[in-house]
Amino acid sequence: MDPVVLFFLLGAFARIAKSDLRLPEALYETLSIYLLLAIGLKGGVEIAKHSLGAVAPQAIAVIAMGAMLPLIAFPILRIFAKLARADAGNIAAHYGSVSVVTFAVGIAFLARQQVPYESYFPLFVALLEVPGIVVGILLAKMGRESAEGKPVQWGPLSHEVLLGKSVVLLVGGIIIGWIAGPQGIDPFKGLFFDLFRGVLALFLLEMGLVAAGRIADLKSRWLFMLGFGTLMPICFAVIGILLGKMLGLSVGGMTLLGLLAGSASYIAAPTATRIAIPEANPGLSIGLALGVTFPFNITLGVALYHAIAQRLA
């Protein structure tokens, strides 16, 4: 297990054991801003080295995958879990989008195993943030205008999603890294690259505290939540890995695309869906994304997906 995950476990332990350890909210925000920017910058610098022509078709396929995943999750949630349309769409939106921190743990994992991957991957992270959310909300709202009164206000919503802080920082970082190029970015390496793993460790400590705090959300439907929260990611990961193979990605790239597909958003998706799908229960979606899938992915998932990618390569 990557040492970075030990910090997550420490945080989770502290919360479960009711320690008074708390990270200030400002630190949580700061670390997440840092991680988004740093990932974007790193990706942008790499994109500067590649021709966009080669990346473009992959990018389109990745977007399509993001839009398709909720279409798989939604009927499963409706039929097997018998969830209301709003809840099913809401959860589908979370799993259609991606978790940037899960991605960061993934690149730490690959770096430790010395497995190379397509270095422009942060671009895919940015591209995967939005489509799944939009499709999930569409599913939640289909044929509902009459029922609950308010239709979705797509204007404000698309504004919120496309200009949400995670997209702005990730895409902004990519563009700055791209323009600055490897030399221009050099003076920022001290902060944004050398400290990356340490900051990730600190953030995972906080995530451990937060994720363990979500365990209460599991109490009413824990069997469904544990099942869906681990099996859905594995299933999505296989889809991502297979797509990676089709797109000619390396084993590292296949692993990362699987991990992204299998990860669930807990920054952009909750923000957008809370307003767009008011009648959905956030305890359910957050409990799943943060309380089950995030811990599963960073502790077991990433190694599992890597093994699968090696098999299928």
Binding site: R22, E25, Y28, E29, L209, V210, G213, A216, Y266, I267, P270, T271, R274, I275, P278, E279, P282, I286
Partner: protein, 100 residues
């Protein structure tokens, strides 16, 4: 010193609603508002402010009784069903009645 009676409307809500609440309160006649970041707990469990989805605000609006009533009613109808929201009203006195 002469004082003038007004209503103080206090709305405790999920932070995600802040932008909407401010816009709608202004629209319904509030001249201003004050917001503090808080945490708390109620029927829907503890809201610890330990991450973004878990933050709460406490919004205060000083206004005429009629405005307070219409904002309160609007919030009750629009948000109380699906969001963690608490509302209360109190009598206060202000010095510059035109301001509020």
């Amino acid at each position: 010193m002469q004082t003038h009676p007004k209503k103080l409307l206090v709305i405790i809500a999920e932070a995600a609603l802040e932008k909407l609440l401010v816009k709608e309160a202004r629209h319904l006649g509030a001249h201003g508002y004050t917001v503090a970041e808080v945490h708390g707990g109620g029927a829907t469990g503890a809201r610890d402010a330990d991450w973004e989805g878990n933050r709460s605000i406490r919004m205060e609006v000083i206004c005429d009784e009629a405005v307070a009533q219409s904002i309160a009613e609007h919030v009750l109808n629009s948000y109380c069903k699906n969001y963690s929201v608490s509302i209360f009203l109190a009598d206060v006195e202000v010095l510059r009645p035109g301001k509020f």
